[in-house]
Symmetry: C2
Subunit: 199 residues, 2 copies
C-alpha cells in the first residue's frame, strides 16, 4: 500500500461518526488536511476535552461537565414540574421549541427487558427518591411515542401515582403543516379521539 | 444558556467537517458521548497526528508524512509514465480503479488566474525540472474535465512539448452502464467524434 498510513488511520477513525461511510470519511480527511487544518486541530481538542470532562448530572442524569447540570442548578426554573425524556438531545429539542420552565430528568434510554434495560438502568430509583421528597407536583412524560416509550411512560406514571403526583403525557395529533391525506391512520385516529372544543 | 459549554463547543467544532450542518453535528456529538467515547478519543488522536505529521511529498506534492511519499519511493513503479492529477483524492481514485503502474504528480488545484493560482502555485517549476532531467516519456494529463482542468492540461502539454515528452489525455465518452437517453449533449458529441473501430 503506497498511501500514507496516518491518512488511512484518520479515514478509518472518522467512520466512528454516525452516517459516515468510507467515501464520506475520505472526503472529510482530504478536506481537513488540504483546506482546514486549524479546524481539525480545534476538533481534536474539543473531542478530547468533551470525552475527558463530560459526565452525567447527579440529579437529572443528562450530559454535563459539572456535578449538577445547568438546568438543575438554575433557580429560576420551577421545581414543581419535572419533564421525563429519553435522551439529552430531547432536552435540547424541548428547550429550543417549547416554553417549558420546569426541570428535566433524563432516562438515557427506555425500558427494554430483552436488552437488559430495566428500571435500575434508567435511574428510576433516583427518580423515586425525588418523588418521595415531595416538591414535584407534575411529571410530564415526554418519552417517544413508540411501544417502548409508551411502556416506560406507563411504568413511571404508576410510580408517580403511589406518591400522589400527577402524570401527564404530551398530546398526540396532527403535526403543524401536515396534510390530512398523508398522515398515518394511527395518528389520525388519535387526533380524532383527542379532539378539543374550539370556543 | 443551560447547555454544557463543552458540548456546545464540540457541536460547533464538528461543523468544520464538509456536509455537516447544525443538526448533524448535534447528532454526532450525542452519539459519540453516549455510545462511542473510545471512538471519539481515537478520532481526536488521529486528527492531531495527521495535522502534525502529514505534509507534502517533495517530489510529487501529494499528502505524505514522509519527505518522499510511498508512490514516489516505490521502485516497482515505472518512472517513464507520469500521471498529472489535481488532488490527492484523484491519486486514490486512480489507484483503486485503474491498472496504472507509473508515478503521480499532484497539482493541488488547477490554473485559476482570478483566484491568484498560477503555474508557481501548482508547482509547475518542479514538474519542469523533472521533464528537463529526462526519464519521463509520457505525461498522462488526468485533470478534471472542467474548463479550468482543460486549460491546465493544455498549459502543461505545451510545456511537455518543449522537452519532447508525449502528453495524453484521459478518454471522454459514455460512462459504463450509462444510458444514451440521459447523457448530456457535450459528452455524447465527444463520444461520437471519438468513436473507435471495433475489429
Amino acid at each position: 500500500m503506497s498511501q500514507s498510513p496516518l491518512l488511512l488511520q484518520l479515514i478509518e477513525a472518522l467512520r466512528c461518526l454516525p452516517g459516515v461511510g468510507p467515501k464520506s470519511a475520505q472526503r472529510m480527511a482530504f478536506h481537513l488536511l488540504e483546506r482546514d487544518r486549524k479546524g481539525a486541530s480545534i476538533l481534536s481538542d474539543s473531542l478530547q476535552q468533551a470525552v475527558d470532562h463530560i459526565g452525567h448530572c447527579s440529579q437529572c442524569r443528562t450530559l454535563s461537565e459539572t456535578e449538577i447540570c445547568g438546568y438543575c442548578s438554575d433557580s429560576r426554573r420551577n421545581d414543581e414540574l419535572l419533564c421525563i425524556v429519553e435522551t439529552p438531545s430531547d432536552v435540547l429539542a424541548i428547550n429550543q421549541a417549547a416554553d417549558f420552565n420546569g426541570k428535566y430528568f433524563v432516562l438515557m434510554g427506555h425500558l427494554s427487558p430483552l436488552d437488559g434495560i430495566g428500571p435500575a438502568e434508567l435511574g428510576l430509583g433516583l427518580l423515586e427518591e425525588r418523588l418521595k421528597e415531595g416538591g414535584v407536583k407534575e411529571l410530564i412524560l415526554a418519552t417517544n411515542p413508540t411501544v417502548e416509550g409508551e411502556t416506560t411512560a406507563h411504568y413511571i406514571s404508576e410510580m408517580a401515582a403511589e406518591y400522589q403526583v400527577v402524570s401527564t403525557r404530551l398530546a398526540h395529533g396532527i403535526p403543524l403543516g401536515g396534510e390530512l391525506e398523508y398522515i398515518d391512520g394511527g395518528t389520525l385516529a388519535h387526533a380524532f379521539s383527542g379532539r378539543q372544543k374550539l370556543l
